[in-house]
């Protein structure tokens, strides 16, 4: 009993437990959604336009599709897409950020210019352009989101590496005759790792939200896919007829999963990089 109480008193443990619960929830949605992919597409006109009830907690739409299954499936698709694009983005960020910092002035100038370029154009605009140019659909969204989200993390990594290069302990290591590889792995990696992981996790919610937005605008996934963006844009036609459930629940779920990812990212940041937060 007393150990239980101590466990809950410790803010760190509480944070970790909440983050684990959030991760479990998101994982469950992802798995369940991919299993329910077919159920989400099943039409049954005998049950169309039902308001939320016990059997269909999120109601049904004008083709009699179960909105709960559709929401979970859509969210699952968004999360999987988000994770894929965030990872690609992070990889681009790592390579570009690192080369900017270590490959001399020309590389630094080029990468910095690209960062400024990408960050100077509104995300969603650039995303629409790239996605459209790549022929929309799954391919368009993946390329679009991946190519627009690396900039801020690349800038972070570049700054961090430049700072590390100038830090006294790296300069001392150079004078002690340590090679570039030793410095990169022993001195830089332990400092970069937490920043990179945190940055990667915090990319997820952005990527998810932007995938949903571009699909909502009609430049993303095709209408047959049970994506959150598709669900929301279709619901617009039916909102005026009082079918509020078509937009409310999918929208809430999208916001919730974005917030949960954000919370997980912050928790991880506090756990692996305590120096940045004093609490």
């Amino acid at each position: 009993m007393s150990t239980d109480r101590a466990f809950w008193k410790d803010r760190r443990f509480r944070m970790l437990a909440l983050a684990a619960a959030a991760a479990a929830f998101l994982l469950a949605v992802t798995v369940l959604g991919s299993v329910w992919h077919d159920a989400a597409l099943e039409t049954d006109f005998s049950r169309k336009n039902l308001a939320p009830c016990l059997k269909y907690p999120f109601g049904t739409d004008w083709m009699g599709r179960d909105m709960f299954a559709r929401t979970v499936a859509g969210l699952s698709l968004s999360i999987r897409l988000g994770i894929l694009t965030a990872c690609v983005s992070a990889a681009i960020a790592f390579v570009l950020g690192l080369s900017a910092a270590v490959m001399g002035r020309f590389a630094d100038g080029a990468v910095t210019m690209m960062i400024d370029l990408v960050m100077g154009i509104p995300h969603i605009l650039l995303l629409v352009l790239i996605s459209y140019a790549c022929g929309k659909g799954f391919k368009g969204v993946v390329i679009g989101v991946s190519l627009t989200h690396w900039a801020s993390l690349a800038r972070l990594i570049r700054g961090e590496v430049l700072q590390l290069k100038a830090s006294p302990y790296v300069k001392i290591a150079e004078k002690l005759g340590k090679g570039k590889l030793y410095i990169a792995f022993r001195h830089m990696a332990p400092n970069l790792f937490p920043q990179f992981i945190t940055g990667l996790i915090l990319l997820f919610p952005h990527a998810i939200l932007h995938e949903a937005s571009v699909t909502f605008l009609g430049f993303g996934l095709s209408p047959e896919q049970p994506a959150i963006g598709v669900i929301l844009s279709e619901s617009m036609n039916h909102l005026a007829m009082g079918r509020w459930w078509l937009a409310l629940f999918p929208g809430l779920f999208l916001v919730a999963s974005v917030l949960l990812f954000h919370y997980i990212g912050q928790t991880v940041c506090r756990l692996i990089d305590p120096g940045s937060v004093h609490e």
Binding site: D10, R11, R12, L16, L271, I272, P274
Partner: protein
Amino acid sequence: MNIGITDRNTDIVDRNADIANRDADIVDKSKGVENDVLKVEHLSVSFTQYGRGLRRRTLHAVEDLNLSVRAGEIVAVAGSSGSGKSLLAHAVMGILPYNANMDGTVYYDGEILTKERAKRLRGREIVLVPQSVSYLDPLMKIGPQVTKGKNDAATREKSRRVLAGYGLSEDVEEKYPFQLSGGMIRRVLIATAVMETPKLVIADEPTPGLHPEAAKRVMGHFREIADTGAGVLLITHDLELALSAADRITVLYGGRTVGEAAAADFLCEEKLEHPYMKALCRSMPKNWNWDGYKLCDSGEILEYMRKEYGR
């Protein structure tokens, strides 16, 4: 050799008992004394700190610290970094960070100094001469910073007089902080502090980065403040500087009081009671003497202190 060490250890234990007795004496006597400007009893400050991952520890930064400052006196608190000296200043001023727990009592002018009372008095009767130059607003001229924005003739007249007293000419008022040297900035900070004729001045590391001559001059100014009847609490890591200016020295180690002595006692090791203070005395560069192996004999004092004081 072994016998020698055992001897010294029993010696240390005996002296500890002596010190404990003497401390009890001091507490008894001072109850009747009314002119303690500041009295700190059994002060403890602890923090909860988080490390990487799930590591957590409670850090007892200050433990059972006792100290008093009388009117007209400079009391120096000397200790290395991490001995809790800055926290002492913050505890008295009531400006500890939010995650700190404080225990013990602080008396100011014979009455308990609560957080609310400290808030009322700070900046007027109790002033802090801060450690860092960054306490000055970089975008504001010196003059208004010293007068705290008051623009009436009396205040300006006073600020001119105070600044002149510290050897700062009139044109300094028209300058910005970055145009002044380190020594001048310290003097501006002191001038700002004494504008309100305080009763208690707390100086937190007022001299780092200063040339010994400039530091001595700053110390001289604290003596002048004390001579006007205020109590000065001087917090510093530089024991030698403290000795040159203070009446009494309280030595801290690991957040605890090791002992208290008159500044003059440090001239002669025999007058000091605690072995750590003896070692400090022996370790001053002026007492160094190269014997082919070492400059001074501090024995196993650091090992002993680590064991006794837990860090």
